[in-house]
Amino acid sequence: MASIQLQSLAHRYPSAPDYALNSMQQSWSDGGAYALLGPSGCGKTTLLNIISGLLRPSEGRVLFDDIDVTDLTTQQRNIAQVFQFPVVYDTMTVADNLAFPLRNRGIAKNEIEKRVADALQMLDLQERANDRAHSLTADDKQKISLGRGLVRTDVQAILFDEPLTVIDPHLKWQLRTELKKIHQRFQHTMIYVTHDQTEALTFADQVIVMYEGAVVQIGTPQQLFETPEHTFVGKFIGSPGMNVLPCEIDGSEAVFAGKRFSLNTAIDNPAARFELGIRPENIKLSPSEGMPLTVTALEDVGRHVIVRGEIAGAQLSALVKDGVAIPENPRVSFDSAHINLYADDYRVASGRGDQAI
């Protein structure tokens, strides 16, 4: 188990014109459960492979517990990694598959047997222990892949690269719970790559959101929801995502559709592109108060109804509890305490909560 530090880390694949990972400075603590969240192609897997040593970064250093491991091989780093699609050794039995990483490291025979038995029980594969791995279902194969990552107890960190993609939904919950339990029991440093926000938010203490090769925010699920540091985080987290509305700045006030919103700080870079961020949860509909909304669609999602519409040329979504009547010609008002102001996509101010609009 180790803390992980990334110093000025960046990566560009040979022959690619752009950086897959932009220069980043990160420090992740020993024993933490982190989720790397982001859309496909944002560099999550690249970052994971750099940490495990499968890929050498083109710039920067990787440190485990303040020791530089950039030039060490995967074996020397002593890392466990689980991949997106099942990797099993076809000709071996299930038990041999699980024992393989231990045998390669010359661990005593009775210790191997004990750990394999533990892993089989944890993954509910006892009955298939002596079957050839080749004959298993995709679910069970992925369980073996997970198991090979978890049998080694002395690893510096365990990295998961979207490990539950191929797993059945009901089994997903069960395995995610197992992973959480394992984390609580062994306190491994765990990094979990996913593009599924639910998975990230339930697994991790700290969620690292990546976008276009850069880390845009690290925080608890609540921080990501309430104060997204980047418009992408706001849009990506939450369902539907945060509304991002172009606005003007006037001193310490943001102006949108003729309404003025007081900010908690004055803005000093008037050349930037400004946008207001407001969650659909923080928008109130009423027949009389606020700005007029042209409704374009209603979506019933169970406990809520998503009201989609247009306001001053911008798209807007609002959430209304199921059963609450939606006015004929609704007007909307924003909860100003939950407004964020973005300059060129990065958060620069919040709304002041003392005013009602």
Binding site: L54, M92, P101, N104
Partner: protein, 298 residues
């Protein structure tokens, strides 16, 4: 309640062309051979039924036994050399970059040369008076002569076959190797697997199927080898490189013993079928294990 299926025999007309082609190209010639193998003739299109006499004669003849042993030894040596060598070369070939096409073209070259030309190339190559190999060895003081020395004759034929056909094994194995997803190698690095373990548990199982094809093709081809030894050694010195095929042609065309030759052809054919079946059964036995274990759905 049962629904009567509509029977329509017109479909048979659709397969007619294929049936006719196969009949002309394979079944009728084969039946002719069967016909010869159970009869004797003294010309004038007169035939006498002899039953299994020719088969008994062939099966008990020392000449046939020796030719069979020579052919089996040749095929065994060819497989023992070409299969491991082919795998090794395929493993060593680059997987990306400009080297790939260079290697593939180099590997394909020997396969493009006609058999009799290969024979002629090596026949000249090995000649002591003018051949690069033969003369080179002679000038090094090594006594090499494939027309007189039994061992030299065998060495030349085996070297020639390895040169000619290892490429086929290489190309088949290479196609199997490049289809292995990168993630398997990554997982092996995570699991701390040695180079040997990567080969034993990832590469070998993944190329098993193409390897089976390579083994079958190389066995059949080497077991039926005719043109090259005919050109290079003509079956000699003595009878030392007279393989079954050469022996068969001598019997059928040289001595005009059509009956025994037909019986020998059929035995020859059955041996090839039998050995291929054995290879196939042994190499796929592991897959069958799984099915009988009631493996999970895929």
């Amino acid at each position: 309640m049962s629904i009567q299926k509509v029977q329509n025999n017109k479909a048979w007309f659709m397969v007619m062309p294929v049936l006719i082609l196969v009949a002309i190209s394979a079944i009728i010639p084969l039946m002719t051979v069967v016909n010869y193998s159970v009869q004797d003739t003294f010309g004038n299109n007169e035939f006498f039924w002899v039953g299994t006499e020719w088969f008994q004669e062939i099966l008990t003849s020392e000449r046939f036994h020796n030719a069979l042993l020579r052919t089996l030894l040749f095929s065994g040596l060819i497989l023992a050399i070409e299969i491991p060598l082919g795998i090794l070369i395929a493993l060593a070939m680059p997987k990306r970059g400009w080297g790939v096409s260079v290697c593939l073209v180099l590997m394909a070259l020997p396969l493009l040369i006609p058999w009799n030309v290969v024979g002629t190339i090596w026949q000249l190559f090995g000649r002591v008076d003018i051949g690069l190999l033969g003369h080179g060895l002679a000038s090094l003081g090594i006594d090499y002569n494939y027309t007189q020395n039994n061992l030299d004759a065998w060495l030349t034929l085996i070297l020639m076959d390895v040169w000619h056909w290892t490429s086929l094994v290489v190309l088949l194995c290479y196609s199997g190797l490049v289809s292995i997803p990168e993630v398997y190698y990554q997982a092996a690095r995570i699991d701390g697997a040695s180079r040997w373990a990567v080969f034993r548990f990832i590469q070998l199982p993944k190329i098993k199927r193409v390897l089976l094809i390579a083994v079958l093709l190389r066995f059949m081809d080497s077991f039926m080898i005719y043109t090259e030894p005919f050109v290079i050694t003509g079956g000699g010195p003595g009878n030392i490189t007279t393989f079954l095929s050469i022996d068969l042609v001598q019997m059928a065309v040289g001595q005009f013993d059509l009956g025994p030759a037909a019986a020998m052809s059929l035995i020859y054919f059955l041996i090839i079928l039998l050995v291929c079946w054995i290879f196939y059964t042994v190499m796929t036995s592991y897959d069958n294990d799984e099915q009988s274990n009631g493996g999970g759905p895929q």
